[in-house]
């Protein structure tokens, strides 16, 4: 008697169960992607747009790093090679370049949305703080990435940027020397900027994105900052020693 063909749906469910039993991934994904949210609009898509652009930057950056040569005599040549000769190099470099601007623009919009919705308030202060750190680190990505093109504009813009750091009192000159890896722009400056740009800062941003998302899922999405018209309340005299009743902001989601 022939064995009946297995039902593909059953096989898939069994596979999911097998993985779920050993890792809990299915629960994790369900809680992350299928969580309940309050009525949202386009403004709530800015954060996930940012995540998408970050993934785009990480992917294209990784690919560009395979060809890029972070040395004073080779950097510009390797950029020329990526742009003019490598298959689709112009496209990947263009995506990375425009993606960088896009990330900064989306960051400002996202921060503006959070600010004007009052979404930084209790209990989401730490979400705002981790977001602010991501903002600062993204600015540092812009600074360190700008030099890597190693043309005249990149060089002199970075000279100016490092010297602006140097005008800070007391620590400024040391920060400049730290960034330049020496007293003036030298052979080590570009490799230092490169290592900061592709290892240290993106690693820190990735870790902070994890914390940021953890908090977003844990605390839920902030609803629109609208509230119904207050109903006329019965006039009560405050009693001595009893603090007024205070409700936390609506916490949606779980």
């Amino acid at each position: 008697m022939p064995i009946p063909a297995p039902d593909p749906k059953q096989v898939a469910l069994q596979a999911e169960d097998w993985i779920e039993y050993r890792t809990g991934f299915a629960t994790l994904i369900r809680k992350f992607l299928f969580r309940k949210v309050p009525p949202t609009g386009w403004m709530h898509t800015l954060g996930s747009s940012l995540l998408t652009v970050f993934i785009l930057q990480a992917t294209t950056g990784m690919l560009l790093a395979m060809t890029y040569d972070p040395s004073p005599n080779g950097a510009y040549q390797s950029i020329r090679y990526i742009t003019d000769q490598q298959t689709l190099g112009w496209l990947l470099r263009g995506m990375h370049k425009w993606g960088a601007s896009m990330m900064v623009i989306l960051l400002f919009l996202h921060m503006g949305r959070v600010f004007f919705y009052g979404a930084y308030k209790y209990p989401r202060e730490l979400t705002w703080l981790t977001g602010s750190l991501i903002f600062i680190l993204t600015m540092m990505m812009g600074l360190t990435g700008y030099l890597l093109v190693w043309d005249e504009r990149a060089y002199w813009a970075s000279v100016v940027a490092v010297n602006i750091n140097g005008t800070a009192p007391v620590l400024g000159p040391f920060i400049s020397k730290f960034l330049l890896a020496g007293p003036v722009f030298g052979a080590q400056t570009i490799s230092r900027f490169y290592a900061l740009h592709m290892l240290l800062i993106p690693g820190a941003i990735g870790a902070l994105i994890f914390v940021h998302l953890w908090l977003v899922v844990k605390l839920g999405v902030t609803p629109w900052p609208s509230r119904p018209l207050p109903e006329p309340e019965p006039q009560l005299q405050p009693q001595a020693g009893v603090p007024p009743a205070r409700m936390p902001e609506t916490v949606a989601g779980e």
Partner: protein, 217 residues
């Protein structure tokens, strides 16, 4: 001696071991990263050109001369100096009637390259203006142009041997250890204030030479 349970002892041991591992990784990593901040570098003497290349100047029209501090890294260690011929004969760079004044082309606002003009120097980035002594006359720079100490070698070769920051006040050119652009060498009040607020970290050198009067107009 205080008693500790087995659990407390193991917790403390784990924390101690963790701190040790952190130190073994963290201390050398920090020292490695910060090494360039404390490392001291001297200015490498550089050849500008034969002396007679610079002596044809009539009105103020300083001759640009490129130089290379580190021959292995021409891409980053090249610089531009402006050699101004004063018409005098003295080859002592520090004398009042010195033959040349060698200016750095680094703007003292934020380090852009300046260009010579009939009236002095101008910076294309943010509009800094300097007169023929390198003294700031307009725009955002906060002090006068750096100058190079120079000497004539083998009778006919012009070399720069040291770099100094300058500030011009009281009719004198005052010399200071090199500071980065945007950092004051001289402020009103006690002399240690600019040195504490803006320590000079660029080059190591000996004591700065004394002030020299400006040439008579």
């Amino acid at each position: 001696m205080a008693e500790a349970t087995r659990g407390e002892f193991l917790s403390l041991t784990t924390i101690g071991l963790g701190a040790m591992i952190g130190g073994v990784i963290g201390v050398p990593a920090t020292a490695y990263l910060l090494a360039p901040v404390t490392k001291e570098t001297g200015f490498e003497p550089a050849f500008l050109g034969p002396v007679d290349k610079f002596t044809s100047e009539q009105k103020f029209d300083p001759t640009p001369a490129t130089y290379v501090e580190d021959a292995e890294n021409t891409a980053t260690s090249s610089g531009l100096a402006y050699v101004h011929y004063t018409g005098q004969k003295n080859t002592d760079w520090h004398a009042e009637d010195a033959m040349f004044v060698v200016f750095s082309n680094r703007c003292m606002h934020l380090g852009c390259p300046i260009a010579a003009t009939p009236g002095g120097f101008q910076c294309p980035c943010h509009g800094g203006v300097y007169d023929t002594n390198g003294e700031r006359t307009g725009g955002p720079p906060i002090r006068s142009l750096d100058r190079f100490q120079w000497e004539v070698r083998k009778g006919s070769e012009l070399w720069i041997t040291q770099r100094w920051s300058t500030d011009i006040y009281g009719g004198m050119v005052h010399y200071y250890p090199v500071k980065m652009p945007g950092q004051p060498t001289h402020t009103p009040g006690p002399g240690w204030i600019p040195d504490v607020l803006y320590p000079h970290v660029t080059y190591t050198h000996g004591p700065a030479p004394g002030p020299v009067p400006l040439p008579k107009a």
